[in-house]
Symmetry: D2
Subunit: 347 residues, 4 copies
């Protein structure tokens, strides 16, 4: 069986795992004060050119989003996201669970429009009844989006400007950050991003780690008592070294970006294979998630050889399907896909 | 100045106030166990033909919605409403504040479509990732809607059937219940309604009381420890008699329905006045809220004589405006409106 | 039956009720922006000598505590109270329900010790693990306390000093504020109090109103977006005039203080009656709540004539009982108590 | 430097780490549905003799407690714990953050008394005002306790009986479960425990894993939609294999119990060393946490060689200190302690 179902269906990248082995003996301070976490923080601060950045390591994405959003907002304030945003759909209501409404704008291939955000805020400010409404306090976007698409530097800058105009925080969910930054379509780097938002996280789980996300407050703007907030959200590891050491490995010799590059290369080949085989790509994703429109009649047959995900039915005859690559994707995997598709074509 | 801005811009209906005066002396048990509250409960149970109904008196609408919804749901489960629903827009996120996502369906002139509700639930059940999503537990509709429109008996029955099929509670917000029931377009009564939902509330604040809403669980299906839940939500009056006595008055000699009928009659006249004056009604509201499309250029002039509410701009030249009647609306008020409109016409 | 069971077992003081009648006709703005609420605010600001004070009218005590505490605290921060504090015992967990731990210190006849508060904070600051603990953000005291006792000006000043030293808000629950201020033992007035705390509320429900509590932020230090917060907590009345008009009446011709004085006079007579009859008073309450130790064997007999409350069993033979006076308590009520006790004595 | 400061200051036990290495390649289903998690569940079900047990792997202790307690309780219900209980002190208010009050009883060397629990519940049921109070729904105890002490089978059975009598869940926090079960003083095994509570968790983080706790609902009594609840609490790992594989290793060849036994043996030797050196043990802990009373004057000197934790000052001259052993504690560590103490003695 060949796996394209997700980028978290595998273990750690071998170099990440090796670093866990290498650092396993020896004692350390707990709760993220260990030497590996401290070193990883320094490496990230240097990379993004933000010597004052507050950086904390949390375990997973939903937890990170809920903890950061709740900590940055006043009680009961709302977060604005697009309707396809992860927090709006697939986090089981974790944000609402801490009392904050997720206000949704219509997505454009997974992305938020700065103009529509501005119009929303203008209408809100002009509305005589806005005192009776949830007060927006933060804008949440994902990079890359849930549909594999990317914002340009100009698009992020425009959203950031609107946020600053209306006193909103801009928080960027980078669960797959590397796959965005290493894409041929991306016109900025991590340092630029750090200077165009109020907080973001560098996803580890989906980019070669066993678990772990690095939350960055670039200007040292960590929310008050953030350590206690992490603890209260159940987001703190006693053995914080587990994540610190993994991020140390990921940021050594550019491993994080190399992993990302590899997955994108594989994804572009995968894309080409589908197109060549005559299938329609749903959008122009330049990242490691590829969305393909498949006829229902081949779904089962393909599943015999290839693991992939049903995204949603498009109509009674076609299914939107997601294929994902990762550090673990190999040329053999692509060959297996090619073979499977040609077998189906012959049948 | 003539007031059509809301149905809560006035005091209590004189008979309601008189009953507060008549019952003021004398001692009573607190927290809703007083004799007047008990009598009002009995009157309502009899009216709806539900001798086992659990009935509690809460203070206001937002509070009632948040308390009932939170008490009927499992932690973190969601409530389905239309996007114009009061809980989705004008309750400052009170439902999310207790941890429950408000899942929105598109409204049709303020109403939910039973078919679209069913399709939503079918998609949810079929979705392989639904475990990662908020679990819907309750459907919230308003009767009349925020746009003054009404569900037919058939429409409510259809929604109720979908709810029962998918194990959802149906809860009906009756902030203006009387104005719906007494409308010429309504094809059922309160007893019928009580048999076609799991909970509803009879709005007092907007129908002649100073404050107070009567929550009804028709089949004795009060949530476990509901008294404590009311207290925890801050929704309990020490002097529960304040609301009990008002509801006793409202349900004596059909006052609740008579108040409602009066306001509807006034509203229909108001509607006719606007139409006759050449203005466009936004929809066919058969209740005490009327939505009129007014050219921007007359807004200020009309405001000099008539108090009404801007609902939302329709375009750069027209404003959707709301005019509301109540027990306190008089024939003189309507005459004043007529005069104001004709003065504007001449100008 | 003679009633000493609570100070909310009655209706409104006749002058309060009369003012509701007098102001009932005529229209007004909603949500507390009406003229009566505005006037009541001005009267209170003048009385306390705080022209900048933010003042809002909420419906009941539990609701007021939960709304104010949640609005003044950062998410997840804790509130310090004594173990007999109302929020710690009889508010059904309303404060915890919004995510804030109630941290309890031992009470001294219902009161908090400034010294023990200081020691608590010193230990907290010195504790190496305090990052893992709830961060205290606010101190809650009641005046008078749940046991009818009073803080001296010196005691409140000491607590206020500790609060300022440790960056804690001081919030005073004045559900029965008048009964404290008018007590012979009280060495300050409302203006002094307003200058020695960050927020307090003037209880209406238990001092002659049908409902309503006036929250005061003396230095204009209303929490950000407090209107929306009130709405989100379900604590807002559409017809805000109901409370505004009552407070206007209460603060006209010193009615609030006159009501309080009357109840205290009645309570001191009641106290004397019990002592003369040979019963032991539990403490030296100088306010309208009196705590009497009664032998179990007379409880039922007394209940035949007098309504009062069991507070808690002291041992197998004695019950601590509470007797409360109010604006509605009469000389006849006291005579009835005297008679009942002498009948029991003869039996 | 020799480390006795905690049992989470180290990496994974080598066999646990090796299993992560061995299972790293190869793909798997996500979110805890992987083969290693499934196998670990089977191993645990067999060990405890509960074939129907629901078992989920969460990341850390605070998270586990908050998720389980919130999921087992009705909204706003309370959890009863002793005042030294971890959820009452060192979890940053995570339980209150989800709306549940932690009701505390006085501890007895870290333990709850079944009799006092029963008396609390009897008083609660008898209290006429209990409707206004938080409704207790669950009892939380730790085994071993925060003070290293153990309940006997009889004591747990007594608490379980009270729970069943009053319709309370019994949930046991086993963050250090192995150190309790392998103690010479323990008169039951894990299977017995599983039959005398409604839920418990087997702590991994403090017993040789890098992270991970296994929550067990012995009778298949998993709370409704528990998967979604875990997700909503941010407690779900995308790569669930990380914990599943570690538990598979811990339950292979009794590793979990062997690790525990080793640490207890070390702890008992450590205890003997202190006693022999003339220091007073604070209590009779038979587990891997030892509490020693040390004079303030030697604290710094000892810290030069030995890392340990200040628990709390006993008076102006003595500090209560905690020393903890783990899988990583060696005979050399004990020798180093002995040497340090004798050096101090000579000084």
């Amino acid at each position: 069986m060949t796996h394209f179902d997700s980028d978290y269906n595998n273990g750690a990248h071998p170099l990440v795992l090796q670093h866990l082995v290498d650092t396993n003996s020896g004692h350390s301070t707990s709760y993220g004060y260990d030497e590996w976490s401290e070193h990883a923080r320094k490496m990230i601060r240097k990379l993004i050119g933000c010597p004052e950045a507050g950086i904390e390591f949390l375990v997973g994405g939903t937890q990170t989003n809920a903890t950061v959003i709740d900590s940055m907002l006043y009680p009961g304030d709302g977060v604005i996201a697009v309707d396809t945003g992860h927090i709006a759909v697939h986090e089981a209501g974790a944000v609402e669970f801490t009392g904050h409404k997720v206000i949704t704008l219509t997505d454009h291939d997974g992305k938020m429009s700065a103009l529509e955000l501005k119009e929303y805020m203008q209408r809100f400010k002009a509305d005589e009844t806005s005192e009776h409404m949830v007060q927006p306090g933060l804008v949440y976007i994902t990079f890359p989006t849930e549909l594999g698409t990317l914002y340009s530097a100009h698009e992020i800058e425009s959203i950031y400007d609107v946020c600053n105009e209306f006193d909103l925080h801009l928080y960027i969910d980078g669960a797959r950050l590397g796959y965005g930054l290493m894409s041929a379509d991306c016109d900025f780097n991590m340092a630029w991003l750090a200077h165009h938002c109020h907080a973001f996280y560098i996803g580890g789980t989906k980019v070669g780690a066993l678990c772990g996300e690095a939350v960055v407050f670039p200007q040292g703007n960590e929310p008050r008592n953030f350590f206690t907030s992490i603890k209260r959200h159940g987001a703190m590891l006693a053995k914080g070294r587990l994540i610190g050491a993994q991020f140390e490995a990921l940021f050594t010799d550019n491993l994080y970006l190399r992993i990302s590059k590899h997955a994108i290369d594989m994804a572009q080949q995968l894309r080409a294979i589908f197109i060549e085989a005559g299938y329609r790509m749903y959008n122009d994703s330049p990242t490691n998630q590829q969305f393909v429109v498949l006829p229902n009649k081949i779904l089962d047959q393909l599943h015999e050889h290839i693991k992939y995900e049903f995204w949603e039915p498009l109509d009674h005859e076609q299914m939107l399907c997601r294929f994902v690559t990762s550090w673990a994707t190999t040329q053999e995997d692509l060959d297996a896909l090619k073979t499977a598709l040609s077998t189906i074509a012959k049948a």
